[in-house]
Symmetry: D3
Subunit: 64 residues, 6 copies
Amino acid sequence: MPYINIKVTDEQVTLEQKRQLIAGVTQLLVDVLNKDPKTTHVVIDEVPIQNWGVNGNQYLGTKK
Amino acid sequence: MPYINIKVTDEQVTLEQKRQLIAGVTQLLVDVLNKDPKTTHVVIDEVPIQNWGVNGNQYLGTKK
Amino acid sequence: MPYINIKVTDEQVTLEQKRQLIAGVTQLLVDVLNKDPKTTHVVIDEVPIQNWGVNGNQYLGTKK
Amino acid sequence: MPYINIKVTDEQVTLEQKRQLIAGVTQLLVDVLNKDPKTTHVVIDEVPIQNWGVNGNQYLGTKK
Amino acid sequence: MPYINIKVTDEQVTLEQKRQLIAGVTQLLVDVLNKDPKTTHVVIDEVPIQNWGVNGNQYLGTKK
Amino acid sequence: MPYINIKVTDEQVTLEQKRQLIAGVTQLLVDVLNKDPKTTHVVIDEVPIQNWGVNGNQYLGTKK
């Protein structure tokens, strides 16, 4: 406890960027709610861009 | 807002079918709840059939 | 199979609107992917507006 | 895009703390992945402590 | 790690039943995958029956 | 109904282990809550270890 799920489109997120997301959101939970980082779990889901829609269109289709 | 997550088994859903799912569910939220499509996000998850269970069996095992 | 989760802010969604969301998204999965409605599950989550953020602000704070 | 879901136990998280979580995690996605905050959605779920388990026990039972 | 989410309709699940769900699923992960129970988290969501649909109808409407 | 989602790190979970997870958690819902297995759905997500964080670190980094 807590559990944080981050969903982003799958666009070459690097190992280092994932590390920063995990460290950053864990620290945020410590700072704001005084949670124990040892029991703070973070899961990053990388969603294929053709599987993400916004404004009724595939994200794929909205990029230039 | 809103956020819709559609989970289906991974069985060759085409790009066009994904497009129809995203367009259709976004329109549904507009029609029923008058939501703004610009902030309506849809994520489709394709789950390997060996990872989906029903009736205590893998979906894999229940297909003919 | 499939499983659809619809998250909207908790703003007096009526029983009838929920009925329409469930019927509509189920029909969509039938039409687009030929899924069996008997095994199509829909869960609607109504999220308190103070718990939903966009653009770094609580949705609560972005409404007029 | 992106979508972040934060699940914490329901223990009197204040409006201000929720504001800080939403602002903080949105900024993190901007800093690390250069995401657009306008399309970054955050949903906080407050889970009743009797519904959260760890180490095979209800969180309820593990508190002093 | 791991994280298990159990969604059931909100029909007076007792504290003892929740305890059994948490203990049982944690033990399952230990038995099958040799996971550490100390880092195994379980979250139970109780969904209002009017918010759960199957076969295109609210679960509410399908009960006798 | 019900719906159970099991998230584990992607570390060569076998087809047989998935079968046991699905059978076991379905039986648990039958035993504890008298649910109908025919409508009990289980989805297993295998998360790349570099995408799972605990204690502010990638799970990847915490393994020996």
